[in-house]
Amino acid sequence: MMEVFFNLSVNVLIQSLIYAVLTYGIYITYKILDFPDLTVDGSFPLGAAVSALLLVNGADPWLTIVAAALSGALAGLFTGIIHVKFKVRDLLAGIITMTALFSLNLQIAGSNLTVDRATPTIFTSGIAMRLFGGLSLSLRKLIISALIAFAIKILLDIFFKTKYGMLLFAVGDNERFVTSLARDKGSVKIMGLVISDALVAISGCLVCQEQRSFSATMGTGQMVFGLAAVIIGSTVFRKMSFVKGTSCALAGSLIYKLCIQIAILLGLPANLLKMVTAVLFLVILIVGQSRTREA
């Protein structure tokens, strides 16, 4: 009984760490840029499709992360250009890219692609085995995903303190201010989307390596998950302004995945998962709003 519980907890931690990378991306678009980016539902499986294809063809598993990031960056660039240069509304720009990516993902990896057990992933090869080879697979997964999630978090925290990073906050806060700084607000927005969707695709790549499979439908609802996680995180820590946005996103991811795991343990059929996600998201939004009204 204890062992089952332990394994489940480790699994929840792995999931929340891997998906935290996606929530960082959503934090950038939703919280910083104030841009509801629906590209996510397409760029997440794009990262997974690219890495599945590369893994099956024997590419280095760490290199697939780079490839996934680049593919996601391109997706973000696409949405950004549609929105900024062709003045298409933010939601629609994301939907267009997302829809196009669905077909592209099918082209890359078909509707399903399984990475067999013999194929090395970041959790079962190279540096992971050299450093943590003595540990069980799940503990190894936990350590590697924690290292990646925290490394990206620290990099982002540093980036947000740089001149360019601060400009991202400024463009979401007051576009005119960015213009008055003699900077093109459009290109700053595009850059934000590029970084965000690169992170989302990295998350998709990690999920693919962890579960050893890609499916064309794995992107559905990821945007809502990410939004929910970011909003949960910032609601929990709203009184503590010193907590960084990335930390809120990470915590939100953990709380969300924990709730879902508990729902499954209580006997929730897997088919109802998205319904629960939607209801949970609605509750969070309503609770979040009533709290801000009181404040």
Partner: protein, 257 residues
């Protein structure tokens, strides 16, 4: 400093709402001049400022700033030479960033926004000294978010930020209109001090005729896209608020208001 030649500005040309604001309008401002611009609503003051800043593209005509032809340049390109303070105090800064962060961004205007740290700890005391000059007690609030300051405080910081790095041209777009009379007086005083100390060329749009008469060294009144009054130097000093008000009323009556 500023030259506008033969500006034509037509909104919705050829459409049913076609509106010609300027027809062959020319205007100039000399270096170091502080111009007060008055006129009733719809006289073209704001359109004029928007054409100077590149927020609106003129239908035809040319705009020169400090000798550079800016007629077809983007707004953010022109912003290198122009500082602007708007009517709405929350538009001059970023409400979710602190005073120090806003100032650090402003100080970097016209330079590269790269991956070096935005806030240089050594500069904080210099920022604090600049804020102390405002005499609003903000020097102890450098890490407070702009959004939690009052309208007057925000407008004072906006003015400071707009003039933080050397600019050719300061544009004040009814920047005291949203403030209470006392605060508005403080900001106006501060504006005058800033313009004199930094030797700026400035254009101020205002609905307050007293400010227009008391401050600045040139007074321009606009009506229906034309300059109807343009006085400076001794002539301006000899002009009282009542004189300006009379002309202003005469125009309005002509319009049937």
């Amino acid at each position: 400093m500023l030259k506008m030649n033969n500006i034509v500005m037509t909104y919705d040309p050829g459409g049913i709402n076609e509106l010609c604001v300027f027809n062959d309008f020319s205007f100039g401002v000399k270096k170091g001049e502080f111009v007060s611009l008055v006129g009733s609503n719809g006289s073209g003051k704001t359109t004029l400022l928007n054409i100077i800043c590149g927020t609106l593209a003129q239908t035809s005509g040319e705009v020169y700033i400090a000798g550079e032809n800016m007629s077809h340049k983007k707004d953010y390109y022109r912003a290198r030479r122009i500082g602007r303070v708007l009517q709405n105090p929350s538009l001059g800064t970023c409400p979710n960033l602190t005073i120090a962060e806003n100032m650090a961004l402003a100080e970097n205007k016209g330079k590269k926004f790269d991956f070096t740290f935005c806030i240089n700890k050594k500069r904080i005391s210099a920022y604090r000294d600049m804020v102390r000059e405002l005499s609003l007690g903000l020097e102890d609030k450098m890490d407070v978010k702009m959004g939690s300051l009052s309208g007057g405080q925000r407008q004072a910081v906006s003015l400071l930020i707009a003039t933080m790095i050397p600019i050719d041209f300061l544009i004040l777009d009814e920047h005291t209109a949203a403030l209470d009379p006392l605060t508005s007086e403080t900001i106006m005083h501060l504006t005058d001090k800033t313009i004199k100390e930094k030797k700026l060329t400035a254009v101020m749009v205002t609905h307050n005729l007293r400010y227009a008469v008391e401050y600045g060294d040139r007074l321009v009144m606009m009506d229906k896209g034309r300059v109807v009054m343009d006085i400076s130097g001794k002539q301006k000093q000899a002009t009282a608020v009542e004189d300006v008000l009379k002309i202003f009323n005469d125009i309005s009556i002509e319009c049937g208001n």
